[in-house]
């Protein structure tokens, strides 16, 4: 029953926020709900329910391996949100707060959905609920971004619906009773009609891949991340993408059960490496440091797919990387938000010398950069190294080499941009910086905490998490 609370609490909070009269105090809903959600999520992490409380919905190992990360990230963003929204007092935040909370609730639902249709509905709902978040800034650019997000994402989601139907039809054709819970589908296994399963896999991979932001379906990402506030960017990069990744994993498990695991892994591998390459190429000549983060997120989605495609240890490492990615991206987006506020510019042509203007955020941003480029001792280093290792262990030597080259190119691009905006002499653009922006503790602590979390995850991974990931791997590939 507690599982349901994970969904209900945020939604109730969202309703409350929507009804709350005062703009000034409304933001406090965010940390409150976030805290409650995290407490629940972690309580469940430590005391996982023996059986999912409903065949359609449940806190199963997969959800257990992922959801706490999202919840933690949300908490960080929520804590940051309060001072941020105070800073943006000129914008009404009713819809924003409500939408953010709703998104959290729906993300939990999507993570816990064990039914094909329910999963799809939840994902679609997340997409819709994040629309108001995107055009919070209410600028033409924001609208354009939102429009693209909606249409590209919508098309993707439509394809994934078609894919769900195909999968359903596969089970129907295989003589299934039309029960679309993943458990049932996996149980049906090779009974599913193969061609339909393959079609379903293609459609679902592309559909959910669009939400994940795998190349070449990533086109909405830079626009959305570039225009959205830092918090939203962080939630999209660390939360929504995770939802889509969960979906892909669940589907892949079914496909594998249907005996097409090899094909699925190969497609996942190729698309993952392709995304990493494309992201790296974009990063090489990126100029806008928020769009840069978007491409870095594309890159990391590629890394996740690569890891997942390797299966076994690679999949385990992918779960590990989901956590690291959420924490690191959170820290990066929040500190980037600070820089954006302070600099009054977004590209390396307008911004430089931030280490003079906002030393703390700049230092934080650089630290985050090294974290996200897999420099020890931050978490991503360990997960990516583990992925490389398992790639070599499973005989994907060339894949690993290609992967490393892409990482290198991405590193070039990222360092180029970040050092350009952090070092050097402040530009005139920085003179007319937002006068209300000060590097208060409130805007520094949340990213710091997230970064420290990523650090801790790497140096001393909690046993409960390791156990949770192992359980999730076992759930997805029960055979070995």
């Amino acid at each position: 029953m507690k599982e349901l609370l994970l969904i209900v609490v945020p939604l109730v909070a969202a309703a409350g926020a929507a009804l709350w009269p005062h703009d000034r105090t409304r933001p406090w809903f965010l940390p409150a709900a976030g805290l409650a959600h995290s407490l629940l999520a972690f309580w469940l992490l430590f005391h996982p329910p023996a059986v999912p409380f409903h065949p359609w919905l449940g806190y199963d190992p997969l959800a257990r391996a992922m959801l706490p990360a999202v919840s933690l990230l949300f908490l960080g963003c929520a804590a940051y949100g309060v001072p941020y929204l105070r800073l943006r007092a000129e914008r009404p935040n009713r819809v924003f707060v409500a939408g953010l909370l709703a998104a959290l609730g729906l993300m939990s639902a999507a993570h816990m959905a064990r039914h094909l249709g329910l999963l799809w509905i939840a994902t679609e709902a997340v997409t819709l609920s994040s629309v108001p978040l995107l055009h919070f800034n209410n600028t033409p650019r924001a609208f354009e971004a939102t429009w693209k997000y909606l249409l590209v994402g919508g098309t993707g989601i439509a394809l994934s619906l078609l894919g769900s139907f195909c999968l359903g039809y596969a089970s129907l054709h295989g003589g299934g009773a039309g029960d679309l819970t993943f458990a049932a589908l996996m149980a049906q296994g090779t009974g599913l009609s193969r061609p339909w399963v393959l079609i379903a896999w293609v459609l679902l991979l592309v559909g959910y891949g669009t939400k994940m932001g795998l190349a070449p379906m990533h086109t909405w990402k830079p626009d959305a991340y570039g225009e959205a506030p830092g918090i939203v960017g962080a939630m999209l990069a660390g939360g929504v993408t995770t939802v889509a990744f969960t979906a892909v994993l669940r589907v892949r498990a079914v496909v594998e059960a249907a005996g097409a695991g090899g094909v699925a892994s190969r497609t996942l591998l190729v698309i993952g490496l392709f995304s990493t390459l494309v992201a790296a190429l974009f990063l090489l000549s990126a100029r806008d440091f928020k769009r840069m983060l978007a491409y870095s997120s594309v890159e990391h989605m590629g890394i996740l797919s690569f890891g997942a495609a390797l299966g076994g240890v690679g999949l385990w490492a992918a779960f590990f990387h989901v956590w690291n990615n959420s924490m690191t991206k959170g820290a990066l987006f929040l500190s980037a938000g600070n820089l954006r506020r302070a600099a009054g510019g977004r590209t390396i042509d307008e911004v430089s010398g931030m280490s003079v203007i906002t030393p703390r955020s700049a230092a934080l941003f650089v630290a985050g950069l090294f974290a996200v480029t897999a420099c020890p001792p931050f978490g991503p280093f360990f997960s990516e190294l583990l992925i490389v290792k398992s790639a070599f262990a499973t005989g994907h030597g060339w894949g690993a080499a290609f992967f490393l080259v892409c990482l290198l190119l991405a590193f070039f691009g990222l360092t180029r941009v970040v050092f350009a905006i952090v070092y050097g002499r402040p530009r005139t653009a920085a003179r007319k910086m937002d006068p209300r922006f000060r590097e208060t503790l409130a805007v520094i602590v949340p990213p710091v905490v997230l970064l420290l979390l990523s650090l801790g995850l790497g140096l001393a991974t909690p046993d409960v998490l390791r156990e949770a990931w192992t359980a999730a791997v076992r759930q997805l590939s029960p055979t070995p």
Partner: protein
């Protein structure tokens, strides 16, 4: 089926919307046709579909069109003739594919699958080939229609909640789209997405 070609062929926005609406209506009726014994639930679904796809959304779109008083011509990125040919090719392909695919006996002769695939392709083609925001919404509608059509295959087996949810989501999606269109119009004084290229590399 033919509606798709019309949709591709038409050069004017209202007619495009009309096509979409009509297709929605047809879809709404579908379940009743397929269902042999009438169940209340099915009736409700059908009614809802007709209402939504056939009436509400087209009305919405017309409103959006009127508020953003724009000329009714579509500026195709892919010319009408090529898109017609492409659509036709797609349709043939869809039929062939539907033949190739293993289907349950009761679906063998029905053109459901072919039609679904065809209108999905049409929708994508419209999304790619038309630059007007509203026309793209229409394309999206037709895409969704196709998917819904495919969903009808499962109407026996899958609990209707799925369908309901789909309907809901679809409507919400388009509703929001409508709002966005509205906002874009205010922001850009045009519904031509060709102008929406501020965000670029």
């Amino acid at each position: 089926m033919g509606l798709n070609l019309v949709a591709l062929g038409t050069s004017r926005l209202p007619s495009l919307i009309r096509v979409a609406a009509l297709q929605g209506m047809v879809l709404g009726i579908m379940p009743l046709v397929i269902e042999h014994e009438l169940r209340l639930m099915v009736l409700v679904i059908a009614a809802a579909t007709v209402a939504m796809k056939g009436l509400v959304i087209p009305a919405l779109l017309r409103r959006a069109m009127r508020t953003a008083n724009i000329d009714r011509d579509l500026y195709p990125l892919i010319g009408f003739l090529p898109s017609l040919l492409l659509g036709a090719a797609g349709m043939i392909g869809a039929v062939v594919l539907a033949r190739r695919l293993p289907l349950l006996p009761e679906h063998r002769e029905s053109l459901l699958v072919a039609g679904a695939l065809a209108s999905v392709l049409t929708g994508l083609l419209l999304l790619i080939g038309r630059s007007k925001a509203i026309s793209q919404v229409c394309g999206y509608l037709i895409l969704e229609n196709g998917i819904y059509l495919f969903g009808l295959l499962l109407i026996h087996s899958t609990p209707l909640l799925v369908e309901g949810g789909i309907l809901l989501d679809l409507t919400v999606a388009v509703f929001v789209t409508g709002i966005i269109v509205d906002r874009i119009q205010r922001a850009f004084d045009s519904l031509d997405t060709r102008k929406l290229t501020v965000l670029r590399e």
